[in-house]
Symmetry: C2
Subunit: 213 residues, 2 copies
C-alpha cells in the first residue's frame, strides 16, 4: 500500500500524512526504491491512534510525537510513558500561589489521607487537582470541597475498572497503548457519561416544570 491507499483507508489527507511522517509521529514505510515506499496496517493503526489523541484528547502534535516515542521505546516503563501522556494532557494551569492555592493543596492532601490513597508527592495529577480546586474557590464555588470525597470514591471505582483489564495484557506495547487510549479517550467517555447521568438525574429528581422549559 502507498500513501494514497493509506490516505483513503484512514481518511487522512496525503499532505497531512506526509506532515506526520516529517514530524516523526508516523514511522516511515519500507522503501522499495529511492522514491517509493510501502505502508501496512501498522501505519493505519498508528494513524488512527494519532488522530484520536489529537482530535479527542486535544494533544499538540509535538506531545503526540513524544508520547508515541515513549510507547515505542521498549526501555521506557509503561508508567513513565503514561506519566508523560498524563502530564501533557493536563494543562499546566499556572497556580497563583495564593491563599486559595494553599488551601486547595491542603484539601487534596486531606482527601488522600482520608481515603488511604498512596500518590507520589510529585504526581502531576496532585498539582492539577489542587490547581483546579483553587480556581473553584476563587470563583466562589466552595461546594466542591464537601463533595471531594464523593468524587474520590467514584474515581476509585473508575480506576479499578480501568486497571483490571490492562493488567491482563502481556505484551508491553499492547499494555502501553491500552493505558494510553484508556487514559485519553477514557476521559472523554467519562465526561460524556457524566453529562448523560446529569441529564437523567435531573429529569428524575427535578420534574421538567420550572427549570427545564
Amino acid at each position: 500500500m502507498r500513501v494514497s491507499g493509506l490516505s483513503s483507508i484512514s481518511g487522512v489527507p496525503v499532505a497531512t500524512i506526509k506532515y506526520y511522517l516529517r514530524e516523526g509521529l508516523l514511522h516511515r514505510g519500507a522503501t522499495t526504491s529511492p522514491n517509493q515506499a510501502r505502508y501496512d496496517d501498522t501505519h493505519v493503526r498508528r494513524l488512527r491512534l494519532i488522530r484520536s489523541l489529537v482530535e479527542v484528547g486535544g494533544l499538540p502534535i509535538a506531545t503526540v510525537r513524544d508520547v508515541l516515542a515513549a510507547v515505542d521505546d521498549p526501555d521506557t516503563p509503561v508508567h513513565a510513558m503514561l506519566g508523560k501522556a498524563v502530564y501533557a494532557i493536563t494543562a499546566d494551569t499556572d497556580d497563583d500561589q495564593d491563599d486559595h492555592h494553599d488551601r486547595a493543596v491542603a484539601e487534596v492532601e486531606a482527601m488522600l489521607a482520608r481515603n488511604g490513597w498512596h500518590v507520589s508527592e510529585h504526581a502531576p495529577a496532585r498539582r492539577s487537582a489542587a490547581s483546579v480546586l483553587a480556581r473553584m474557590h476563587r470563583l466562589g464555588q466552595e461546594r466542591f470541597t464537601a463533595k471531594l470525597d464523593d468524587y474520590a470514591r467514584a474515581a476509585e471505582r473508575i480506576a479499578e475498572a480501568d486497571l483490571a483489564p490492562v493488567a491482563d495484557l502481556q505484551d508491553r506495547g499492547d499494555r502501553a497503548e491500552a493505558a494510553l487510549v484508556g487514559t485519553v479517550l477514557g476521559d472523554a467517555l467519562l465526561a460524556a457519561l457524566r453529562r448523560m447521568a446529569q441529564e437523567s438525574f435531573s429529569a428524575k429528581h427535578f420534574p421538567p416544570t420550572t427549570d427545564r422549559e
Copy 2:
C-alpha cells in the same frame, strides 16, 4: 478601578483585557468620561471565569462569548445555557458512520436502557459517547464495552454529587454559573482524581517490582 488595576488584580495583561472587551467576553466598565471607565469586582469575577474556561476547559474565545452571553441572558434557561457549554466542550469528533460507529451507538443505547437513564435523543453527550466508543473499537480496545456499566454507575454517583448543591441555589445567574463551573472545571478535577486513584490502586494491587520501576 481602571484597567491597570483590573490587570494587576487578575494577572491578565491590559492588552488582553482590551481584547476581551472588544470580543464581548467582558462587559464594559461604567464610563465616567469619553475616555475613562471604572471597573469593579464583577469584572474581576468575570475575568477569572473567562480564564478558567479558556485555560482549564480549553474553550475557544468565541465559544466563551456565546456561553457567557447565555449565562447573562435571563431569558435563556439554565439547561439551554449548559447545553451550549457542553456542546462546545465536547469536540464534535466526526463519526465515521461505519460498522464500529453503529455498534457503538447500539452499545450506548443498551447501556442507557440497562441503567434506566432518560436521556434526550439529541443530547450531544450521546453522540459524543458513541463516537469515542467507536474510536476505541477501531483502535482494537474492546474492553470498554464490558466496563461501560461500571463507568456508568460511577457517573451516576458523580452526577448526584454534582446536582444536589446546585439545586439549592435560588438566583438564576448563580445557578447558571455554578453549573457551568461544575461542568467545565469538574471534568478537569475528575480527570485528576482518576489519575491519582489509578496510581494508588496500581501501587496497592501491583506491587512496584516489574512494571513500576
